[in-house]
Amino acid sequence: MSAEFNPNIVAFLCNWCSYAGADLAGTSRVNYPSNIQIIRVMCSGRVNPLYVMNALQQGADGVLVSGCHPGDCHYMEGNFFARRRLGMLKDLMEFVGVDPKRFHMSWVSASEGHKWKEVVEKTVEDAKEAGPFEGFRRRQIDW
């Protein structure tokens, strides 16, 4: 099935909940699509919303940001800031014509290995539907 489109997904996960949840999915041998590549940050509050834009520009077809559930943030409030900033970014991206299927945010705790799998599947499926991101992707220049 070489014709099938395999989206390239970049995910930003907080160290304490979602990254640990993704680790747990591994420990529990939960299978999920390999399209997703994780960048670890200490807190979802660290995720500069412009990373999402930058990832799309640099070749991602979909972006996921995941943090602790509200109230569970290791740093108390970081995920609340992430929620506000990324919620606003999502509205903005949608308005300028970026398919909302390309960007997701989730709360995944350290004990939610299975939820992590579901989130990945949803993100990958949505990115597949949206198709390869051509939009404002940075052109590679081969000299």
Binding site: G26, S34, I39, M42, G45, N48, Y75, M76
Partner: protein, 666 residues
């Protein structure tokens, strides 16, 4: 200048954990061709001794200055490899791990996809490792003293342990006496030790210990600083009694013009006290306090010709001009032991606590049954018409606990046993009475609990499973309406006395402490610990610990155990005399900072402040990070428009290349 990166990439087989789904040799070969990579190798177990030695040898042979380990989660072995490379002379923060096990080989099946993804993860790690910076952990001195807020059994125990270890302790208590809730209890389950008998010696010890500075009738007003270096301000409220002169003789209270007019807090309002009072006979310190709200002289400005207490005090201790006094000191650690409030039974109006004098709470029962209580230990209740000795007694458990309708879904953990204990004590005093306990479940989980529960049942105390729906009056009896759920029989049980086994709730004033110390609450509204299993006495703020019921309902042994745990944890910085500051903290580029202060607003640790600097003759405000307070979360950075504040090891300049590396190979 940093030298040019020379990177070693190490791909782990992890037995077959990785190599069964990732072609590790192919990954190493791929990595070997990437820029700045000097060596790329695989090994069966990188974390093993030989694995670590391999890295160390390469560092020496090839002059490597950065290392990428592609293996398991950094949450697992990052400290291991940090240590290894630092032993070989490379800064421990020149390490990046590619998680190709938990997030690759274990979750994907096909070797092609596993290998392809592993390559991308390695190249992303490589992109970052080349740009990492060397970091040093620093240490600052810690003040060898502790502040303990709350002098109940938890606070007293923690204070004694820390003081015995040779450190200074400031023990702050809001009320005029130490002792807390435990002092109000009569006997303790399951051993039936007299509560006062085991507590008062400790109260006296706390007061007389040379290392403990007891600050009763005092409140913490301000705490700033960080672990090892907290600056504390405490308000010593005016007692209007000279602390040093008062002998505790009690002549003043006996002569007070409003003698025995006010409900005694200690007796849960069942006994009365004067406007000048000692909370209870064994109070420590045994110094009288004037209740300014009720004192005629202080509230109305006039008390007969002259205040009687002043007239009779032989020591001349009464001082109406006394004012609140501020005390400031420095500590290295703080223990919060502020305790609990009993559930307010008025919030279950169906039980008629506000309507019938013979519906009482468990805490009131403690005072009623106590030999030092308002009735001298005699069980006398008013049934609305007369004072009687009850013949029919019902005790109801889970009042205000395990009850979503009042917002308390948790179990209060002590009610099962204190209700059993009270049934036992009632049986002692009322040998002929019929005593029954209405319950949902009996949780007798502790040491000696089940045995005690059995003993009480054998003492002709009936346990009836059912949660009463209503209590009302019929004649001079109270009717408990309930369904016996074991044989599905509705009952209307006529009794003379109902004891509500009220649960434990967070203190009504806990928000003040929360805001003062910036602590969080768990869903049950008690203070949130740093980790429910592994850090049950810590808080999210380093150097601040929890003890006793402030963290959640507990019985006395658990409270004492947690207090000792908190004391032991609090003593770590005190004993070391130093605290280590996290190296991965945020840093401000003062040249580009525009001084908007967003980061100051965002930081949950108040680690950032605005300072004025001189920029070419102009005074400008910029942000500055207090490294001792910063936890390196980076929330400030994502909110900074000029990218001026950046968490070390997670800078934009380190993450953007990572994103690029993941993108280019799609």
């Amino acid at each position: 200048m940093t030298e040019k990166p020379k990177v070693g990439v190490y791909v782990c087989h992890c037995g077959i954990n990785i190599s069964s789904t990732v072609d590790v040799e192919a990954v190493a070969e791929f990595a070997g061709k990437l820029p700045d990579v000097k060596v790329a190798k695989t090994y069966s177990y990188m974390c093993s001794d030989p694995g670590q030695t391999l890295i160390k040898k390469d560092i020496e042979e090839h002059g490597l200055n950065r290392v990428v380990v592609a293996s398991c989660s950094p949450r697992m072995h990052e400290p291991t490899f940090r240590k290894a490379i630092s032993e070989a002379g490379v800064n421990p923060y020149f390490l990046e791990m590619a998680n190709i096990r938990e997030q690759c080989s274990w979750v994907h099946e096909e070797i092609e996809e596993g290998t392809a993804k592993a390559k991308k993860l390695v190249s992303a790690s490589l992109a970052k490792v080349r740009l990492l910076e060397a970091l040093e952990t620093t240490e600052v001195d810690a003040e060898p003293a502790a502040l303990i807020i709350g002098a109940g059994i938890a606070g007293i125990q923690a204070a004694l342990d820390i003081a015995d270890a040779g450190f200074k302790v400031y023990l702050v208590e809001k009320t005029p006496s130490v002792g807390g809730r435990m002092a109000q209890l009569d006997k303790t389950f399951p051993t039936l030790d007299c509560s006062a008998c085991i507590l008062t010696p400790k109260m006296v010890d706390a007061a007389s210990h040379p290392n403990i500075e007891l600050l009763t009738y005092s409140e913490v007003e301000e705490v700033t600083g960080f672990i090892g270096n907290f600056d504390v301000k405490v308000r010593k409220k005016a007692r209007y009694v000279d602390f040093d002169k008062c002998t505790g003789c009690g002549d003043c209270a006996a002569e007070c013009r409003v003698k025995d007019r006010f409900p005694s807090e200690f007796d849960q309002g069942m006994g009365k006290r004067s406007a000048i009072y000692l909370p209870f006979p064994q109070a420590v310190p045994a110094k009288y306090t004037i209740d300014a709200e009720n004192c005629l002289y202080l509230s109305k400005g006039k008390c007969g010709k002259s205040p009687k207490c002043q007239d009779v005090c032989g020591a001349g201790a009464i001082n109406f001009d006394q004012e609140d006094e501020m005390v400031e000191f420095k500590v290295g650690a703080i223990i919060v032991a502020t305790g609990f409030d009993p559930f307010d039974a008025s919030r279950k109006p169906e039980y008629g606590y506000d309507d019938y004098p013979n519906v009482i709470t468990g805490m009131e029962m403690e005072r009623l049954v106590s030999a030092s209580g308002p009735t001298g230990g005699k069980i006398k209740v008013n049934n609305g018409e007369e004072e009687i000795e009850p013949k029919e007694v019902a005790l109801i458990k889970c009042v205000g606990s395990r009850d979503a309708s009042v917002g308390n879904e948790y179990c209060s953990r002590v009610c099962c046993m204190y209700v059993a204990k009270q049934a036992h004590l009632l049986r002692d005093k009322l040998p002929d009475a019929n005593i029954r306990i209405y319950y949902m479940d009996v949780r007798a989980f502790g040491k000696g609990f089940e045995e005690f529960y059995d003993r009480v049942r054998r003492e002709n105390v009936r346990y009836i499973r059912g949660n009463p729906s209503e209590i009302f009056k019929r004649g001079n009896k109270l009717v408990v309406k309930v369904e016996d759920t074991l044989n599905s029989r509705p009952l209307e049980d006529e009794v003379d006395l109902v004891v509500l086994g009220v649960g434990l709730e967070p203190r009504a004033d806990m928000r003040e402490i929360m805001e003062l110390l910036r602590l969080s609450q768990s869903p049950d509204k008690f203070f949130l610990e740093a980790h429910p299993k592994l850090r049950p006495v810590d808080t999210a703020t380093d150097g601040i610990f929890l003890a006793g019921c402030a963290q959640g309902p507990k019985d006395i042994p658990d409270t004492v155990a947690q207090a000792k745990g908190a004391a032991a944890s609090a003593m770590i910085p005190l004993a070391r005399g130093k605290v280590t500051i996290n190296a991965q903290v945020a840093i401000v580029n003062e040249a580009t900072c525009r001084g908007c202060g967003y980061c100051v607003n965002i930081c949950p640790y108040t680690a950032i402040e605005m300072i004025t600097i001189n920029r070419f003759g102009n005074e400008v405000e910029v942000a500055r990070v207090n490294e001792a307070l910063c936890k390196g979360c980076g929330s400030c950075s994502a909110g900074c428009f000029s990218d001026s504040i950046q968490p070390k090891s997670f800078r934009d300049s380190q993450i953007l290349p990572q994103i690029a590396a993941l993108g280019v190979m799609r």
